[in-house]
Amino acid sequence: MFDNFPLWPARASTAAGNVDALYIFLIIVSGMMTLLVFTAIVIFAARYRHRRGVLAEQIEGSIPLEVTWSIIPLGVFMVIFVWGAVVYFHSRTPPRDATDVYVVAKQWMWKLQHAEGQREINSLHIPVDRDVRLIMTSQDVIHSFFVPAFRMKQDVLPGRYTTAWFHATKAGTYHLFCAEYCGTQHSGMIGDIVVMEPAQYEAWMSGGNTGPLSATGEKLFAELGCATCHRSDTQGRGPTLQGVFGQPVQLQDGRIVTADENYIRESILDPGSKIVNGFKPVMPTFQGLVNEEQVNALVAYVKSLSGASAVKTNTAMAQPTAPAKGNQVQ
């Protein structure tokens, strides 16, 4: 029982450093505040304990004192707020060229699909020092992808994509938990994030490769007959999908939306909700005809059409790029 008894979580991602710094700052500030209050109580309780014949001195209060201990805490709180917001904003803006991993949460297991094609259950093998972006959805209830070592947690909602990203800095195996209560085996829905040196990662990568996800998506795109309307030239009955990912799209009712993963997913499963300007609403819904993995494959294919580097070539080592102000994907 005593062999492995951590009092501090492993620090294995860039975000971990920022969160820990803020955490330690807050411990110090609240520690001082607690000390201040406790010593005041103890001193007053001892010094002014009841003695026969000594009466309490009535003090009405003092406005300046009240103002000071309202403004100072407010000031300290604002510092904490801003610092927390910066760390949060950084953790919610994935770098533009991060590797995509599609996550499908299902009652009590995690199914992960790499952009390069590998499929894994309850485990994720990634190379160290690479930005990885998770595009997650759930098949049933709300789950939550939580990796304590990366200080990262993001709820996974049914019916839409939520995204999260991290940049692993230390090789090793780290816990993966489901953090949103999801039923009987909620505590069994755990797994491992295996961060490997690039060499080991290549070895692991080569085995059992069914080709990149976008290739499967392309095959599916043809099989389902999407190509008949969405042609590469502009004569098709549907809008061309070349270079559409990430760009703004003008809708029929005048709204302009960014064609992110959620837009593509919604256009596949609920085409009626957003009609591109100048096109007729003839696209049938594919709700129920394609499962989550297939939708992920189609999304990966559409992204590959616009040159978004969904597919990381093996050799290119992505330097830890500064978090470019990527398009805001909720």
Partner: protein, 238 residues
């Protein structure tokens, strides 16, 4: 939704002190102000109670405006308008009943109370007819729901998404159903008020139960004043 406390608080007076004064109030003035103050606070809770529904309605209307327009078009706005008029008339008769009590005109008071209840029943009748139409058209959410091939107003070539239309009907039935339930409770209160009025319990000095009942009825009318445009008239222009 136990509205009985609205009646319980209109304290039927025990016959200890002066007929109308309860033992723990200093003066009658204090008791009447307390009752109406309590009723207004209760109406505040009702506003927040319906408020949760209005927020849900607002968000889904923004998300699925076209489907909501198609679904709303399938409801007979004429019936809705007549229902609004019926409720407004019932509010008038409530006020006349209170006025009748204030000037000790027994015939006016009792007549107005009866008229109010007739209007209430008329409202529920019209509401019943509306629900019957919805049942026949299979627009009730659940297994029997079907909303195929209904064009979105303004975009004749585009069909409403049945799943989103079902959310409109879910909200429609919950909101109007809850309102109808409040109308039924209101009728119960007014039956009780009619009995007390019939026994001559109300005098120009003491008719607090009438005023409290009136407040509740007017509130139910105000809720309907908002429900009518929001549910019936989403996208009616040609």
């Amino acid at each position: 939704m136990s509205d009985s406390q609205a009646t319980a608080q209109t304290s039927v007076h025990e016959d200890l002190h002066s007929p109308a004064l309860l033992h723990h109030f200093a003066t009658e003035e204090q008791q009447r102000n307390a009752s109406s103050f309590g009723m207004w606070i209760f109406l505040g809770t009702e506003v927040m109670f319906f408020g949760g529904l209005f927020v849900s309605y607002l968000i889904y209307r923004l998300w699925y405006f076209g489907d909501f327009g198609a679904a709303s078009k399938s409801i007979d706005a004429g019936l809705g308008a007549t229902n609004t008029a019926v409720l407004i008339c019932s509010s008038l008769t409530v006020v006349l009943a209170i006025w009748g009590a204030q000037i000790a005109n027994r015939k006016l008071m009792i007549g107005s109370l009866i008229l109010t209840m007739l209007f209430g029943l008329a409202f529920l009748g019209i509401k019943g007819k509306e629900y019957k139409d919805k049942f026949e058209e299979h627009h009730v959410p659940g297994a029997s729901f079907s909303f195929e091939k209904v064009p979105i107003p303004g975009h004749p070539d585009q069909y409403a998404n049945p799943r989103h239309a079902q959310i409109f009907f879910a909200l429609y039935f919950v909101m109007t159903g809850l309102h109808a339930l409040h109308m039924v409770v209101g009728l119960g209160i007014f039956t009780w008020l009619l009995i007390m009025a019939w026994k001559g319990r109300f005098t120009p000095e003491y008719h607090t139960p009438l005023e409290i009942g009136g407040l509740y009825w007017h509130f139910v009318d105000i809720i309907w004043i908002y429900l009518f445009p929001l549910l019936y008239l989403i996208d009616r222009h040609p």
